[in-house]
């Protein structure tokens, strides 16, 4: 078995609102990623995908607070470390994070090359300016970015180019885990493809040992990651390989998501697009039982009171529902025939 790059055990984090209420937006999440693998996280807005990404860095700032659980990166437990230590020794070298609007992270008053020097300084890496420059040039060449971008200000670069430059800079310390939170959703399709190509390339040549990719665009996840995990209301509801999750989802929520896929392919026009009615629950007062029960077509009165455990079935697949896999599949098959 390959080495586990990231192991998260029962991680719980919460937001504290100004009124002093606790909102548990990551609730007992456990996951692991092996070396060289990527994991996609899907779900609606407000399901806790981005909070999970922030929580995984081990660096918490108000209103986000750590509650319980462990994050182990390559055998090194980073929970409970001092925020300053995390910032200097974990961020960048162990975990790197690319937010959605990463392109705005560049300093508009500095040239990209100077910005990289600043990054090195912030991580207390002793390198001369010349060495940094050489390293940056080498890295840019490796990733197919033009070297003259180093001598430009961020405004001189196009949106897609800026995004790729930020990705290149944030992975310059060869992180073990890269967390990409919707890295391409603000870009047009061609730039998106370039970003994805670059990320895949980084995984292949081993600059990044493992990757978490967050998006609600399922066709994109399917093409990028090995595994897909679906989140709902702060919890994991299902996990499986990308192929299994897209073509054979088990949880009613995953199935709802997969049915909202729109791709320009023959046949999609004839398939009815189905929406999941309602909205995710307010996590200030999470439902007592299954969190999806309110919106689930198959929910029974029991579902609303009984807390749902996560159940393992098959190889590495898990789901959170009290109906058995066989029953669910039977219901789905009946529905498809209608």
């Amino acid at each position: 078995m390959a080495k586990k790059m990231l192991e998260v055990k029962q991680l719980t984090t919460k937001y504290i609102t100004r009124q002093g209420e606790d909102v548990y937006s990551v609730d007992h999440v456990s996951l692991d990623i092996e070396e060289g693998k990527s994991l996609g996280i899907a779900g609606e807005s407000g399901c806790g995908k981005s909070t999970l990404a922030l929580s995984l860095m081990g660096y918490y700032f108000a209103p986000l607070h750590y509650v319980s659980g462990e994050i182990i990166i390559d055998g090194h437990n980073i929970t409970g470390l001092d925020p300053d230590v995390v910032r200097k020794t974990v961020l960048g070298s162990e975990v790197a994070y690319i937010p959605q609007a990463a392109m705005n992270a560049l300093n508009p008053t500095r040239k990209v090359g100077k910005f990289i020097e600043d990054v090195m300084k912030a991580h207390e890496i002793k390198m001369s300016k010349k060495e940094v420059r050489e390293m940056a040039e080498e890295r840019f060449a490796l990733l197919g970015l033009p070297a003259d971008a180093l001598d430009k200000h961020s405004v001189e670069l196009s949106g897609g180019m800026r995004q790729r430059v930020v990705i290149a800079v944030s992975t310059i310390l060869n992180p073990k885990v890269l967390i990409a939170d919707e890295p391409s959703s603000a870009l047009d399709v061609t730039s998106q493809k370039m970003v994805i190509k670059m990320l895949k390339n980084m995984m292949e040549i081993g600059l990044v040992k493992s990757m978490i990719f967050i998006t609600h665009e399922l066709p994109l996840l399917y093409n990028v990651t090995d595994d897909i995990m679906v989140m709902y209301a702060g919890q994991i509801v299902e996990r499986g390989t990308a192929h299994e999750m897209v073509f054979d989802p088990v949880h009613p929520y995953s199935r709802g998501l997969m049915r909202s896929i729109l791709v320009p392919e023959e046949g999609t026009r004839d398939v009815k697009l189905t929406a999941i009615p309602g909205t995710p629950p307010n996590l200030k007062h999470p439902p007592q039982g299954c969190r999806f029960a309110e919106r689930c077509r198959y929910a029974t009165a029991n579902c609303r009171y009984q807390a749902m455990p996560i159940v393992e079935f098959g190889e590495g697949r898990t789901y959170r529902c009290n109906m058995s896999v066989e029953d669910l599949k039977e219901v789905y098959a009946r529905e498809d025939n209608e």
Binding site: S45, V189, P219, V224, E265, T268, R269, A293
Partner: protein
């Protein structure tokens, strides 16, 4: 709380699905609603001249759902502003109901806007933050000549409009739009359109800021609205998968020009223009492999001249 004895009894069963009524209808025989010949818009910034929309011709028929697809910077938004009458074309003519459009005075403009309404990309900035939802909906009723209706009649109209988009008016009354989620705001926008019943609805990327799941709900409502009121819907988007799914006619726009137009099946499955081919190949798919080798990392900067040669 009601008790359910049987397992698998759906407690909530309000699954919505897209109606397929007008799926393959031929709209070319329907009367023309909005058409344009040689519509052009040029912007001047200092010495730089940008032709944002370059001599485009279009015919939008009554009840048709048209998608205009293009990447950022292709001129989609400029075209939509001209259709809405917010920008004057530099050249060319736009015809409304078969006659040249006249929006030279404020009163004529207001009259025109009774016939064409829009939903914009960002629901968060589409509302007046000082107006409650009731006021938003009341405005629509008043604009349709319902000023003298009784309170009760107005109330019923608002309830009907909200239930059309699966919102509960009782939960919305006395609230401000910013208290809703993005998807709900966009649905409220559709409730407005339902009250206004314009002939043409222009939807400028209405789903790009909401997630894939609520997107299906919004699309469903737009289709329902079209089917019930016979409205013409102009859908502006960069999402080619969405355009393929929803529309009766697709216009592909590149650098201010329509490079290809026609029935979605024809345009998407057998594209002719190189630009359409590229757009389709750049979208990730699930049944076909996604070929990443077609993009060149260094060829990022868009060069219109080169593309024209290709």
């Amino acid at each position: 709380m009601k008790t359910t004895n049987e397992t698998n009894t759906p407690v909530v069963d309000e699954r919505q699905s897209v109606s397929f009524g007008n799926r393959d209808k031929d709209f070319s025989k329907e009367p023309l609603c909005l058409s344009g010949r040689g519509v052009t818009r040029v912007f001047h910034t200092g010495k730089i001249t940008t032709v944002a929309v370059d001599h485009v011709d279009f015919d939008f028929h009554k009840g048709e759902l048209i998608s205009i697809v293009g990447e950022s910077g292709s001129g989609k938004t400029t075209l939509s502003k001209m259709l809405l009458g917010l920008l004057e074309p530099t050249e060319g003519e736009i015809q409304f109901r078969g006659k040249p459009r006249d929006i030279s005075t404020g009163a004529k403009k207001r009259e025109y806007w009774k016939g064409i309404q829009a939903i914009f990309q960002d629901p968060f900035s589409s509302y007046n933050v000082f107006h409650k939802i009731d006021a938003v909906l009341d405005d629509c009723i008043n604009m349709r000549g319902g000023k003298n209706l009784s309170k009760e009649e107005k109330f019923n109209m608002k309830v009907e409009a909200c239930s059309f988009v699966n919102l509960k008016y009782a939960e919305l009354t006395n609230k401000y739009p910013f208290e809703l989620s993005g998807g709900q705001m966009q649905r409220l926008m559709i409730a407005r359109i339902f009250l206004l019943k314009p002939e043409i609805l222009l939807a400028d990327e209405p789903t790009s800021m909401i997630d894939a799941c609520s997107r299906a709900t919004i699309l469903d409502m737009l289709l329902k609205l079209r089917d019930e009121t016979g409205m013409t819907v102009i859908f502006i988007t960069h999402d080619i998968g969405l355009a393929y799914y929803i529309s009766d006619a697709v216009y592909i726009m590149e650098h201010g020009k329509f490079v290809e137009c026609g029935k979605p099946d024809k345009v998407m499955l057998t594209p002719e223009a190189p630009y359409t081919k590229r757009l389709i190949s750049d979208v990730p798919k699930i049944h076909e492999p996604w070929d990443l080798s077609t993009v060149d990392m260094l060829g990022n900067e868009k060069k219109p001249e080169e593309k024209k040669e290709a």
